[in-house]
Symmetry: C2
Subunit: 501 residues, 2 copies
């Protein structure tokens, strides 16, 4: 008897997953441990392994398997695998090799020029490269295909089924609520937020963060925690998932929140069903859904009142001296301080989505409406003033701050905020099932959060679409409403002086 | 104009080297940092990448390149590349895939059984597996081909051009000198060797070792030092070479000597000519030559009198308390204490080669003379008594101590001692060129040692054979004489009471 096509697809998929894990290790090592002069060789190793992976994903034998499996009797799970494999295959073969090469060459050059432009705070240096990148992304959209708008094809790479239209709807709903909320917070007489100052040693911060990660469900037998310039999570396999953080010895919160966020990503990867490793059902659903897991942990748990009721006494025990005059409520408010700033990655929970919305609006205009690149700086500053009530004094603090465009990434930014919207929907469902969630958090019990997420999200891999899964979980139509409601309720308590219509 | 075959070989070789470096990173991570549950996935990643590498090395396009390059006008360097590539290709295609699979399956089973047998100190458990492994190695020799003895084919995998006959000649010469030397040391009234005791903290040991590695020429911009169960060195590229060590807080020497030894290996890898990366001229010559570099550093430099004249004051500054009553001479003697022990990896400079000779004699008898496996324990103990004047009380401390046979490795052991013989030849040439070497060592200057080795050995890659290169450097016929002379002269000074005919 010859092998069923679906089973040979699984064998090929397994190989691709193993190779992909090896690539992740090379990347992880590059960011954490690699000696600096190893960089050029590492770039060549990564290019080679990526091209071998691409060959695997586009091999004739894989294509034939996809065609033959269509005619086989398949379980629902296998049908979902086939559907997603076809999606992946279409994307993998859509771009001609010559285009991929031009894209890689242009972005590698753009990265250097962006660094210089940012250094000099001179957008005009970067503008010609950004022109090229926009034009290449439009071409990319044409190769990939789309129904309504070219930007949809780019969005779909990171968030399947997301479109310019449905993101616009979501983001307009956010603006309508968040812009007034921020204005209200800005205009109110600030609640006094005594700032947390002192020396918080690296070792103690790391030890405390490890303890929290373990309480969340992260196992150091299946993962690691290391230091890197930017915190990230990578996974080689559900049993080998690695997170990083960074430490500022003047700030007891950044490292911990980094660890909680990345542990949220890691628990998703660890929680994927191992028996489906190498298939789409063993892969995370989307960038947005990934971000929903990390943001759920970071904002709904780690920045919540009951969490600090449980953990602040432990933190105070770890850092008795610098925290001696800070009470729990003051500390909680300081963790959740809202203040408009120029830099997205430093933004708080209320202003962050506005940074993302601004980028989405500019990106989709560049791609869909051929907005001239030269208008970016003024539009950026205009939107900053309108949404955040501050104006960047220069482009370094404005439209040159993010690396994404120089890497050729367009359509990626919205997933940050989609993650927050998804997290809100999930959080409501979670609270329905665990009405005593806050009482349990107050006892520093976190295990049930991961257990809930695992059952609700992790175990399904890519079986369902994001919105489909969220509606299955919440049993209501998907919208931005739970997110805006959550923000308003939380920050009305933190800034009791504000009035919202 | 079409590409020259030699250039397309170089492109293929470069890819193989990049992939091989990725495999080395996966292996390094496995031994140093990988979370324990990642092991099963790592084994699958390594198997996949190794099979992709094997495909590259045996690809039809590579074979054609070898044939076509024969007809091209080549520089001497390119001729050497072609010669070595043909050697590698022959070995890569010699073994039928079914045989390779049987070999892998058998040794994977053998490893488990060996662990159990060693645990229980019961050779009879391991004997049936060893039978299989010997028989598979004989088959392997037949596939690879040889002129005189089947064991020659196995030796050639680790030490090109080594044969049973020429190793027998060398090792007989060693026995003739070292066995009486050891007997003399054993029978003399021991020079009092006050033992070095106390607590030597992990951090301070590591810091001291790093300092010595840097003085040797190791750059932490091109490499790393980490901890692992067994010290080793691995290289991804001349600019990314990593060593490990282990630390016993009761012993100030083991960690340092491990670091000096592995740094010797690392400097070889770092010193390979980068412009030949991906070709045989960018690869180390042989296992024996690699070991010659590490042993040169460890024994001729790190365990030498002038080294400790320079470094003992620094060590004493690092560990003032435990070393307060130990003077420099006493410390030096303690570093070079000779004492027959059962375990090879714990052996000193005088007894180590005898351990290796014993293994060589048994291995070659198993392969060449069909020595029955069941005779191994008694022969082992007989030879231990004859060469080292001690008899293992059980097989755990005797013929079951080493992992090599269970991994299928036969023909590997002799390279440890070849390395020492090579090192002696190199050391004489080095002293000729640097008659003031000891004075410079006394000032803790080590840089000139690496410079000399680099020019003499590293830069040539695999251009010359081992013996050819040694004779070029020393300008005399290669023999074991420099090694035995070195041992006798050094240890007559350390044990002044001994008399040698």
């Amino acid at each position: 008897m010859s092998q069923k096509a679906i089973d040979s697809l699984k064998e090929l998929g397994k190989k691709a997953a193993l190779l992909s894990g090896a690539i992740h290790l090379l990347e992880w090592d590059q960011e954490t441990l690699m000696p600096e002069e190893g960089a050029a060789n590492r770039a060549e190793q990564l290019a080679l392994l990526s091209s071998i992976l691409h060959e695997m994903e586009t091999a004739e034998v894989f294509k034939k398997g996809l065609e033959q499996a269509e005619n086989e009797q398949l379980s629902d799970e296998n049908k979902a695998c086939l559907r997603e494999w076809k999606r992946d295959y279409h994307k993998a073969v859509a771009l001609p090799p010559a285009f991929v090469e031009t894209f890689a060459r242009t972005t590698s050059q753009a990265l250097q020029i962006w660094k210089e432009a940012r250094e000099k705070s001179d957008f005009s240096l970067f503008a010609p490269m950004l022109e090229k990148i926009v034009s290449l992304n439009r071409q990319k959209a044409d190769y990939l295909g789309y129904q309504e708008k070219p930007y949809d094809a780019l969005l779909d790479l990171f968030e399947p089924q997301a479109t310019t239209a449905n993101i616009t709807t979501l983001f307009e709903a956010l603006k309508k609520e968040i812009v007034p909320l921020l204005k209200a917070i800005n205009s109110t007489k600030k609640v006094e937020q005594e700032s947390v100052k002192g020396l918080f040693s690296q070792d103690a911060q790391l030890a405390f963060s490890r303890q929290v990660a373990e309480k969340m469900g992260f196992s150091f037998k299946k993962g690691r925690l290391d230091l890197s310039t930017h915190p990230f999570c990578t996974s080689l396999h559900p049993k080998d998932t690695r997170i990083t953080t960074r430490i500022d010895e003047n700030d007891p919160i950044g490292c911990l929140m980094g660890v909680i966020h990345e542990t949220g990503h890691a628990l998703y990867e660890e929680g994927l069903p191992e028996e489906w490793f190498g298939t789409p059902l063993g892969q995370a659903l989307s960038m947005g859904m990934h971000e929903s897991q990390s943001r759920f942990w970071e904002t709904r748990i780690g920045q919540s009142r009951p969490f600090w009721k449980g953990f602040y006494p432990l933190l105070k025990k770890t850092f008795p001296k610098p925290l001696q005059n800070i009470d729990e409520e003051t500390f909680y408010r300081s963790v959740n301080r809202v203040e408009p700033t120029f830099i997205r990655v430093e933004a708080d929970e209320v202003t962050y989505p506005l940074h993302v919305i601004l980028r989405f609006e500019l990106e989709q205009a560049l791609i869909n409406d051929k907005l001239p690149v030269k208008e970016i700086p003024s539009l950026w500053n205009e939107k900053m003033a309108k949404y955040l009530e501050i104006t960047p004094p220069n482009d370094r603090l404005g439209c040159l701050q993010d690396i994404h465009w120089s890497l050729g990434l367009m359509g990626y930014f919205p997933t940050y905020t989609l993650g927050n919207i998804y997290a809100a929907t999930l959080f409501d469902a979670f609270k329905n099932e665990h009405p005593d969630w806050d009482k349990r958090l107050e006892t520093t019990d976190l295990s049930f959060v991961n257990e809930w997420q695992n059952k609700a999200v992790h175990l399904h891999g890519r079986r369902y679409g994001s919105v489909e899964l969220l509606e299955k979980i919440s049993k209501r139509p998907f919208s931005a409403e739970p997110y805006t409601t959550y923000l308003k309720e939380k920050y009305k308590k933190i800034y009791p002086g504000i009035s919202l219509s």
